[in-house]
Amino acid sequence: GESVGLHLPTLSVQEGDNSIINCAYSNSASDYFIWYKQESGKGPQFIIDIRSNMDKRQGQRVTVLLNKTVKHLSLQIAATQPGDSAVYFCAESGGAGNMLTFGGGTRLMVKP
């Protein structure tokens, strides 16, 4: 993930709409990717992960897409709810023994 400076990018969506949060990574050797959700004042919560041998993985209301060609990861949230409001950030790992590298995050705001 990329550092985003002092201000987090913000995505504002209407309740019930679908949300797409993007993450670019720079290490072409990264083979494992995770999305975390962090609500205000709480620790990051694991949402979904994907390995580089896949390009799509689905969970409950969430889908992660991986495009290795352009080194891009996205998180799609279906039927966004107020409880989805949080900061979302991606993390990548280059394999066994490699630590996670975290992106700067995107703030998702859901309007009722």
Binding site: G5, L6, F46, M99, G104
Partner: protein, 111 residues
Amino acid sequence: DVKVTQSSRYLVKRTGEKVFLECVQDMDHENMFWYRQDPGLGLRLIYFSYDVKMKEKGDIPEGYSVSREKKERFSLILESASTNQTSMYLCASSWTTDTQYFGPGTRLTVL
């Protein structure tokens, strides 16, 4: 479910005090991590441990030390707290260096 707990949610200390932050995980994970999180800087790794009594420096170890006497417990120590150590401190644990599970965080204020 993985459970990672941290001893305090909020902590206020004075400059020069010695501060202990405790983290406990109940999943028999080998690896444990301490991060600090600051606006605009994201998560930065302070120290990690891959086994009891083992520790490795992360990206910003200066001013911190750690202790891992038991597998389930990883402590972060600020020997002499300073105002620039005011931050959110996050503990995490994992089986491998892949998926890390985080605790709720400790918001430390140093006056």
